[in-house]
Structure formats: structure tokens, C-alpha cells
Symmetry: C2
Subunit: 449 residues, 2 copies
């Protein structure tokens, strides 16, 4: 149809188009400033990890209407709107926190400065991208912080919500410190290390388990990780021990075994003993099967001898918090700050910057949300300009480098915030100038009502 | 890169490729039968609604490797595997429950019969598609059954997990009985009715609310639904009443108002009264803002005068159950039934059919899962052949028709199963022949261990 599902400007809410029709008729094309922020943390969380900026900038740089899209719109909207779309390119500025930045409620992670119709049209997809990758990076960070020395692999593709979710979950979890993913296309697109072994069907398709193991090892000599829970885990571990010398004769090394069901702690202890007694001390144990950061914590507390984990569904759907409360709100139009005052949903007006402060030991101590201009603070400013007049101002950062920066960022977290339970509300204060601006706008509004 | 994220055969798990390498080396290309089923219902659920078959068949019909994909694979796998992929087309058969069919644990909703490497390679994406659309259709059905006479609109794009999730959530919820969606591209792709009004930013960008309303009405005279909660809901409703006669003079009718925050019941009562007293009895009230089927039930119990609902995040992420436990398992290979016996994950072997029985009043009474061959029952067989040797056997069913069939299907549910709480476990029995087959395979297995 000439519409790319991943980049089409029609991947948006219908109201963007009805609003744009009105904005153009009224010639309301002055500069608007929108900011994306979260209202509150999901229950049990101590921080969020910003992610998705790369995909958002790609979207903005390449946004245009195909002839198929214009034809479709022409049957539903005014010719003047279609004319506008024909020439449409995003020409605004973008300020953002770099991917991997830790952030908190009320802190803008992205600011769009553009003519009102442009800034409005992009809302739905910008939220869609940043919300999802931030969701997954924030979820993944929990496993990384709980199990910093373990191999962690994204196994979630099959229950991720569609194709893009699978790909971006692989990216976001790697960005947050995972070791790799099982999703091949994510490896191809983002150069993320790939991991994978075999399914139960592979074992079942063979007449017996040992033959299945031997075939796999000969076909994949550099990646011999054998799934041993299809019938009887300990029995299979003994078959692995028996098979090992024959493979060694062919210079094939059994890298690891995988457990996928039952009491993982008990099986891991038993299997470790069987492998060790069989001379396979360097064969690792990898576990999977309905894992999440809580089960990791339990397994680690029990000192289960497991070297790596495949985390699937719980990661890719962010099981404890499959969405979070974020908003993309108009903060300024035509040079005038704006404030939404809906019940329970009031926003801080104006263009903002976030400043971060650290203790002398390098621990994060607090943040200040201030006005972006004429309200300077000495802390570390978290938002930087990443796009000017529709063009990126910096080269793309390699994903591996973002991952390293994210891991470095974790080292500044107060220790108590690395736990799986809520530690304390990290202090985020609103600058006096920003509070004064909000009061002033409220007062003006009262005179209007 | 010459890889389409939505249709690439690389959108799969790495282990499919390592397994295929072994299958080809061992020439294990005999016919395999895999079935997709759920192990248990999510908590609080009474049934699931099958969806996603259309996308799965599209995927299978068009599956092939691009030269970029072959090049990428060639650096990682044996030349024999690359040769195989060059010629790769899916040539298998597919049996499935039609989209919209209500189903239960242990019932296959899809059966793939194909050479083992083919049936294996497609696993990850087939689950990815059917799991997600079934997830959303099953979630949407709950709102449809609770509020059968209300306008229900999918508002979830921004917090759906990526682009494809947004599109398929719109499709699956419409299939399950929703009235429409706000996602424009879903309207363009699937011909789903589109709904949308304005954002708070639209109101904020104007100097005052009445001007914003008037501008919108003149630009969108056929779709005047005004958002009235930006500042003060009741005050805005009075502005709507004041504005109405001026719009009537221009032959513009105010179709509705939208509430998006605060106590929706109280606001709806107040606004209904203000509108009625102002002569706007036919102006409808539409509500949105963190709604799900439970809040709908509360609003309906309170008899809140609301005519339609926009359901966003809770629908598109299936908030109470963002994933369900489904599996795609090898049930037969080379003419021999297979059974996985992993702890807590054992499967029923062989090719299966599901028969449904109804009471004389047309109510669903029970299902029987039987062997597909030589195990006939008189009930309604739920699986039908939809693909033969890689080609669809039926024309595509228009989405509107599937939706009608789904709605018709709900009328056969026992009344108690239409509630939001678990009613009772719908009886699904396993045929004697199937139980005997499982026992026989277990006995054979014991002799192998």
C-alpha cells in the first residue's frame, strides 16, 4: 500500500489530524515546546532508564508522506491539509537525556521545539517508541543490578508484543546491560551478541537424547549447549558426561547445559555435581523458564550454581509494570508558557532542564528541575541538544558504547536503590523560578475563568 | 539492509538456526506436526478468543530469504544451510480455529504439518503473532461483554509495545467487537472505523477554551467532539452550551464531549445535566483516561450517563495479563507421535481435533480434545484446514465478517462466563484414545530411560 508500518506518519492518533486541520486553518504554526516525562514510577521501582532516543531521531529525520498516504488522507481531510503534508518534513529542535540516563518523575527526558502542527503530529509515535524502550531498559536494569556477574540473555521474542517489540526489547535490554539476545534479527540490526541452543522439539524429534546431543554437537561444534530437561534432567546430565569423551576425541567441547523446568536450584546442584564428578568442571549451567529478577534473586540467594540466565516473557513485556504513566505535554506556545491543570494531571510549565548532584563519593544525591533559561544551577545538566532544525547534531552513538555508559551510570546509584524494592523517593526538587512560573500561570488562568 | 523487520525469516530465535543446521546434516526432513495451545487461562479469565491467523498465514505464504539475509547468515552457518535457505518456501499444511473462536487450555488453535526444518524455523514468529493478537482479542472481549451497548474505541497506540503491537491491537480489539480505533494506520490497513477528537495541547495552545472549541468545530464540522476537562469540566460544559447556538447557525452540530480526568461518574452526571438543560440532549458523553473493563463495570453500575469509552493502555498491553502461557510443541515426527514430559510441562501427543458441544438452548456445554484421525466425535469440529502445501485454501475473510462471527460466538457463552470473574472451569475432556496414546508413549519412554 506504500505505507511502511514502522515509519508511516499515519502511525498516529486520529486526533492529531483533526487538530492539524484546525491549526492550519487558523494559521497556528508558531513555535510549540512539548516535553515528555513520567508522572510517577511504577510500584516497587527506584528509577527509570531512558532509551529509544535513537529510534525517535530516526523517525523524525525520515518522516514524510508517501503518495499512497496522501491519497488515503485526501479522501478524509481538506485539500489544504494534504498540501501541507506533501511538503512535510520535521524541522524542529530536539533536546534529550542520552540513552541510558537514569531519571525520575517530573523530569523531561525529551523536549521538542517545532512549529505547533509538527510537534503535535509526532506525539503518538514518539511516545510509542520512547515509552517502550524505556520500559524494557528499566526492567532489564533490575536483573543486571541483581546479577551483575551472570550471563543474561533476552529470550523474549515469542511473547513480545509483535515484531518491533521483540527487536526493540533486545536493543533496550542490551543497552541496559544484558549480555545478548536470542532474537537473530536484533543481532543483525544492532550487532547484539546472539545466544541460543536447542528446543525440546529437537530432542523429541530424535529417537534418543544422547543421539540428539551428539548430532547437535557435531553440527554446532562452537556452540555446544545442551538442553537436558526434556525427560529426566539428572539422567540427561549423566548422558552428557558419558558423551563428553567421544566429543573430545573430535575436539568438540561441551560449553554448557541448559535447565528449563522444575526446581532450578535443586537441579543445578545435582547437575553441577554430576558434571564435576564426570570431569566437566568447565561446562557451564544455563537456566531459563519463567525467570524474572525476583526468581534470579531467589536463585542467587540459594547460591544455585548457575552461570547464566535466559529471561524471556517477563523481560519483553516488563511483567510487573507493562506500561508506565508518561505524557508528552505542551509547555509553551508562541513564546508563552502553558500549563495543563486537569485533576491529578497538572504539569510544570515552560522549557526545562534537569540538574543532577552527586556526593563527594560520586553517589547521586538529588536532582533539580529548573527552567531551561535564566535559571542556572551548578549540577550536571542532563538534557542536551541532539537535533537542530530537523538534523542530528551528533553522530549516532554505537550501541555498545551506550551500554558501557549505562553500566557506568549504575555505579553512581546509592546502593539501596539497586535493590528490587522501593528504597526511598530520590529527591527531585522543582526550582523556585519554575514554581513561581506555575503560580503565575494559575493566577492568570483564574482571571480567565 | 534488505531485511524487513515484520516479515524477515531472521525474526526468529537463534536456536532455530542451530537446530536446522543439525536437521539438515542428519537429513531429518520428514514430516513434523506442531500444535499451538495454551497451558492455562490467565487468572480471572473464563475463555480466550483466537486471533492472528490472518497475519500468520500471510507470514507463511510470503516467507523467503533476501540476499542480504543470506549474506548475513553465510558468515555464521554452513554453506549447506545457506543453500537450503536460498530455495526456502513454506510448503506445509495448516489447520486452525477460525479467528474469533472461543477456546480453552489444552486445545490446539493451530496445527502445522510440514517438513521438520520448516515447521521448526517458523516457531518464534508464529507464536509471536498468534500470542499477541489472541491476547488482545481476549482482553477486548471482556469490555465488549460488560458494555455491549456502548461505543468502545481502542485508544492505546502510544503505550502499545511498538508499531506492530499498536496496529495488531487495533485489529484484534475490533475483531473482538470494539467499535473502532484511534490509530490511523490501522484504519488504513484494516478498514477499521476511526475515532478521535482533540488533545489537551489543542485547548492549551488557544488563548481560551471557547475559541478552541469553535475553531475545532469549524475545521471538523462532521466530527465535533469537544474535550472539556483541561481546566474545569463543568465550566467547559457551560461554554459548550453557550457556543452551541452559534454553531447551529452555521449548521454545525456538537456531536459529543469528552471527559478524560477526575471522577468520571460525578462529572458525567453534572455534564449530562448541563447539556440537557442547555438543549443539547443529543450531544453524547465520551469518557477516557486509564479505563479498563473493571472501571467500565463500576461506571455502568453507577449508571454514569456515558455513551462511549476510549480504552487505551489497559487494552493494548492487556494490563491484567500482558502475556499468557502458550506453547508450540512437536506432537508427531516421521509418523510417530511425540510427547514432551518436562516437569509441569507435559503435552498431549499426536494430531488433534477439538469438538464442541452445545445444550439444546444453544449454550456451549463442553469440549472434547480427540485425535484428529480415527477418533471421531459428533460435536462441532473447531479446527479446519486453512493452508495446503503452502497455499491458502480459502479466500481471506473480511475483518468485519470475522467481527460479526465473534459477536455471534459470544451469544453461545453461558451467561456466568461473560462476567469479569472466573465462573467455573469450562469442561474440556481428553478423549480416551488420546489418553491411551499418551500412556503408551510414556511406557515406551520408560523402557528407554
Amino acid at each position: 500500500m506504500g505505507m511502511n508500518p514502522l515509519s508511516s506518519p499515519l502511525l498516529s492518533d486520529f486526533y492529531q489530524f483533526t487538530m492539524l486541520q484546525s491549526y492550519l486553518e487558523q494559521d497556528m504554526q508558531e513555535t510549540a515546546v512539548f516535553e515528555l516525562f513520567i508522572r510517577k514510577l511504577p510500584p516497587g521501582r527506584n528509577f527509570m532508564v531512558a532509551a529509544g532516543l535513537e529510534q525517535a531521531l530516526d523517525y523524525l529525520e525520515n518522516l514524510k508522506f508517501s503518495s499512497a498516504e496522501l491519497d488515503w488522507l485526501a479522501t478524509r481531510f481538506h485539500p489544504s491539509l494534504i498540501d501541507y503534508f506533501e511538503q512535510f518534513r520535521f524541522s524542529g529542535d530536539v533536546h534529550a537525556m542520552p540513552e541510558g540516563t537514569l531519571f525520575f518523575p517530573n523530569e523531561p527526558i525529551l523536549r521538542i521545539t517545532a512549529p505547533l502542527p509538527q510537534a503535535q503530529l509526532i506525539e503518538s509515535r514518539i511516545i510509542n517508541l520512547l515509552h517502550f524502550e524505556t520500559l524494557i531498559a528499566s526492567k532489564a536494569a533490575r536483573s543486571v543490578l541483581i546479577a551483575p556477574d551472570k550471563l543474561l540473555v533476552d529470550f523474549g521474542m515469542r511473547r513480545a508484543h509483535g515484531a518491533e517489540a521483540a527487536l526493540l526489547a533486545a536493543r533496550a535490554s542490551y543497552l541496559a546491560g544484558f549480555t545478548g539476545t536470542a532474537t537473530v534479527l536484533a543481532g543483525a540490526f544492532y550487532d547484539i551478541p546472539l545466544f541460543g541452543t536447542m528446543a525440546h522439539s529437537y530432542i523429541q524429534a530424535h529417537a534418543d537424547e544422547t543421539t540428539a546431543f551428539a548430532h547437535f554437537a557435531h553440527s554446532n561444534p562452537d556452540n555446544v549447549v545442551l538442553l537436558i530437561d526434556t525427560y529426566d534432567t539428572e539422567a540427561a546430565a549423566r548422558k552428557v558426561v558419558t558423551l563428553a569423551p567421544k566429543l573430545t576425541a573430535d575436539q568438540i567441547n561441551i560449553k554448557g547445559v541448559r535447565l528449563d523446568s522444575g526446581d532450578l536450584t535443586a537441579h543445578a546442584y545435582n547437575v553441577r555435581q554430576i558434571l564435576d564428578q564426570g570431569g566437566l568442571q568447565s561446562t557451564t549451567i544455563f537456566a531459563s523458564g519463567n525467570l524474572d529478577e525476583y526468581r534470579l534473586q531467589t536463585l542467587l540467594s540459594a547460591k544455585a550454581p548457575i552461570d547464566g540466565f535466559g529471561i524471556g516473557t517477563a523481560l519483553d513485556i516488563s511483567s510487573d509494570a507493562p506500561a508506565f504513566d508518561c505524557a508528552y505535554k505542551l509547555q509553551e506556545y508562541a513564546g508563552k508558557p502553558r500549563r495543563k491543570r486537569s485533576e491529578g494531571k497538572a504539569t510544570w510549565p515552560g522549557r526545562k532542564q534537569v540538574y543532577r548532584y552527586y556526593t563527594s563519593q560520586g553517589e547521586m544525591s538529588h536532582d533539580i528541575v529548573a527552567l531551561a533559561e535564566n535559571d542556572p544551577y551548578e549540577g550536571q545538566p542532563l538534557l542536551e541538544r541532539v537535533m537542530l532544525a530537523g538534523n542530528r547534531t551528533h553522530p549516532k552513538i554505537p550501541l555498545h558504547d551506550i551500554r558501557q555508559q549505562t553500566l557506568a551510570g549504575y555505579t553512581h546509584l546509592p546502593k539501596v536503590m539497586t535493590a528490587l524494592e522501593t528504597a526511598f523517593a530520590y529527591p527531585v526538587t522543582i526550582s523556585t523560578a519554575l514554581q513561581d512560573l506555575a503560580k503565575q500561570l494559575d493566577a492568570e488562568m483564574m482571571t480567565h475563568l
